[in-house]
């Protein structure tokens, strides 16, 4: 349809004027016959047809060239490299063409070559940018620190997956959304508000209410999309703060534990000096108390030294193959008297097979003594403590179970820390240095064993010790099993 209109246009422009001229001439001369007029009309029609044909050919070539250019642009847009040929068809078309518009076509050819060249270089730059973008993206994703980029409107421009993990949020479709909407954390929000108003780095720490982890944030002003945004870096400092707290508590606990017997000794000594010595009846009791407290102080210092030696691996343990039941039995027997005095039923369930473990005899005895003592201390009158030894899955297992007060869940992970007391007021009254379980844990570390706690408040506690069975014993057990 378009072509037909073009043909008509050329015919009107070229054919009709030619015909008009011929007719006017014929009328003017008026001597020319009808045959001549018909001839003139035919000639003008022929010339018009020739002109139309040449024009159509030019248009077709021009169209082909345009198509080629558009194809090149499309291929660049889709990311595939464009074809190498540039404007050859157009050049030949321009060379062969005698049309008056060839200068326009030349200009078009030049422009199209420039466009192709420009698109080529753009494509190269794009692919390089794409590669470097992917590299930075993977670096940010691999970071353990959370990175958040906030624009001037307070919307999230970027956030890596670590930020999502630290803030405990499903990190999908977050870009372009407000932080107050996605994260909803009062502390983080107030840090951002302060950081927007200040010029330097703003640092803050907060505890995440759900994960209970302590998150350190630093917010730095940064240019984002032609406005002042914020770059926020989040890092998990929970472990660091936990260790700091443990160290602080240790210093405070150790000074307290040392001070208590010393204060008592000082008070009794003062009383004796200020006339107490003459009171024969009471002075004897005071001196006995001084002796008790000095003994407590000595035990404490001994425990501390022992722990320090085990920790520094300076305590030379004599690791040898020893019989588990022998050590266990002697430990239980030694505590029977204490159990009876406290009205606690202490039972012992020995292993069915002879189990040998590689450990230090004295060290292992300390472990069992401490565990049984703790069980007896925290079990009420008429309570029961049972000690069991057995072999399971290639490991020697010793369980000390009581039906005492139990350990609340939140304290269970901390009872092996030095001087850690679940109930500070009560534990000191029961004696003990507060180092027993710390020593047990370190000894188990040296013997290559593990320790587990199962406890429920009001129901009791079970402490399980898992020790690797010595090779000889393991072979023996296998033989026994095979023969039965």
């Amino acid at each position: 349809m378009q072509k037909l209109s073009e043909i008509l246009r050329v015919f009107v422009l070229v054919g009709l004027p030619a015909m008009g001229v011929v007719i006017v001439d014929a009328v003017a001369t008026s001597g020319i016959g009808l045959g001549m007029v018909t001839m003139a009309i035919l000639l003008s029609a022929l010339s018009a047809w020739l002109l139309i044909r040449s024009s159509i050919k030019q248009e077709q070539e021009f169209e082909t060239e345009c198509r080629r250019l558009s194809q090149t642009l499309r291929s660049l847009e889709s990311g595939t490299p464009p074809p190498n040929s540039t404007g050859e068809g157009l050049s030949s078309f321009v060379r062969n063409s005698n049309s008056p518009s060839s200068s326009t076509i030349q200009l078009f050819q030049k422009t199209s070559d420039e466009v192709v060249e420009f698109m080529n270089s753009l494509h190269q730059e794009n692919s390089q940018l794409g590669k470097s973008d992917a590299r930075y993206q993977s670096i940010l994703e691999a970071m353990s620190e959370g990175v958040l980029l906030i624009d001037c409107d307070g919307k999230i421009s970027f956030g890596n997956s670590s930020a999502g993990k630290l803030l405990d949020r499903d990190w999908k479709m977050i870009e372009g959304r407000h932080l107050w909407e996605v994260v909803r954390n009062t502390d983080l929000q107030s840090t951002i508000e302060i950081a927007f108003e200040s010029e330097g780095i703003v640092r803050h720490e907060f505890e995440h209410p759900r994960t209970k982890s302590i998150i350190g944030t630093s917010a730095v002003p940064i240019e984002v999309n032609d406005g002042q945004g914020l770059l926020i870096v989040l890092h998990d400092v929970t472990e660091l703060r936990r260790l700091e707290k443990m160290r602080r508590e240790f210093v405070s606990n150790v000074s307290h534990e040392l001070k208590t017997p010393l204060t008592a000794i000082q008070a009794y000594a003062d009383t004796l000096i200020e006339g107490g010595l003459e009171d024969v009846e009471n002075s004897q009791m005071f001196v006995e108390r001084i002796l008790d407290q000095a003994g407590r102080l000595q035990t404490l210092i001994q425990d501390m030294l022992r722990l320090a030696r085990i920790e520094s691996q300076a305590d030379a343990f004599q690791l040898q193959t020893i019989s588990l039941s022998e050590v266990l039995e002697s430990c239980v027997d030694a505590r029977q008297a204490v159990a009876r005095s406290r009205n606690v039923n202490l039972t012992y369930d020995p292993p069915t097979d002879e189990i040998s473990v590689v450990a230090d005899r004295e060290g292992l005895r300390t472990v069992f003594d401490n565990l049984i003592n703790n069980a007896l201390n925290y079990t009420a009158d008429q309570g029961a403590v049972s000690v069991r030894g057995f072999c399971h899955d290639g490991k020697a297992i010793v369980e000390v179970e009581d039906n005492g007060i139990g350990i609340p869940q939140e304290h269970q992970s901390r009872i092996f820390e030095r001087f850690y007391r679940v109930d500070k007021a009560r534990s000191r009254g029961m004696g003990g240095t507060g180092l027993g379980l710390a020593i047990v844990k370190h000894c188990m570390g040296v013997f290559g064993g593990e320790i587990e706690v199962e406890s429920e408040t009001g129901r009791g506690t079970l402490i399980r010790i898992l020790l690797p069975v010595s090779e000889q014993s393991a072979q023996l057990i296998e033989t026994v099993k095979g023969s039965t």
Binding site: W180, E181, V182, R184, Q189, R210, P408, A425, E456, T457
Partner: protein, 227 residues
């Protein structure tokens, strides 16, 4: 007019989320009280609860104003009604936060008594349900909302177990009856927090899908029973 309504709606959205943040913060602190009760925190929570009450009224006023001014339809109407309902639920949760905190402080009179670990576990779950139901509102995620509705059954089961356990302990040691009653009340309150979280999740299903799923199971059973 639509532009103005959209501006008002986004303002309302921001206001509701600010309320959510505050209420979540309150419930976290009140549940934390169970392991370390503190009268000062309880006093602060009572103060904050008053603010939440005002917030609830303010949001309702705002919703009514939008309804009267623009007479919205379809999703806009659903959003406004959902905001009104969610704000009311949050106001109740803030009241429960104060109640849990008061019950926890009641345990201070019996220092040897400690909170069972199942209760803290139940509280953590209930609070997580509340948090995720608000996430559903933010993300317009009706699938997660339906999942939260199902989680309520687990909380009900835990509630039943804990209540039975407490009754048994009351029989065993009547001297601890005061502390056990406080605990009993705390368990019920936490169970109600989970109920409110479920209500919010149900409201979100309505917001997204336009379907009211409240009591749907019960209605279905009734329909089947009476042909």
């Amino acid at each position: 007019m639509t532009v103005h309504m959209q501006l008002d709606l986004s303002e309302l959205h921001r206001e509701l989320l600010a309320m959510c943040t505050r209420v979540e913060d309150m419930i976290h602190r009140s549940v934390g009280q169970l392991s370390s009760p503190d009268f000062q925190v309880t006093r602060e929570l009572i103060q904050e609860d008053n603010e939440i009450d005002r917030w609830d009224v303010r949001i309702e006023d705002h919703c009514l104003k939008i309804l009267a001014l623009y007479q919205p339809v379809a999703v806009d109407l659903r959003r406004i009604t959902t905001v009104m309902k969610v704000a009311a639920e949050l106001e109740r949760v803030a009241d429960l936060a104060v109640s849990i905190s008061e019950r926890a402080c009641g345990l201070l009179n019996t220092p040897q008594f400690s909170v069972p670990s199942q209760l803290t576990e139940m509280a953590t779950r209930a609070v997580s349900m509340l948090h995720r139901s608000i996430d559903c509102y933010v993300d317009m995620d009706s699938q997660l909302a339906r999942q939260i509705c199902e989680e309520d059954d687990e909380i009900d089961r835990m509630n039943e177990e804990l209540i039975n356990d407490l009754i048994q302990r009351m029989h065993e040691s009547p001297d601890q009856i005061d502390a056990l009653l406080h605990l009993f009340s705390a368990v019920r309150t936490i169970e109600r927090v989970a109920d409110h979280a479920t209500n919010i999740a149900e409201d979100i299903v309505y917001l997204v899908e336009g379907k009211i799923i409240r009591h749907a199971g019960k209605f279905e059973r009734e329909d089947q029973a009476s042909p």
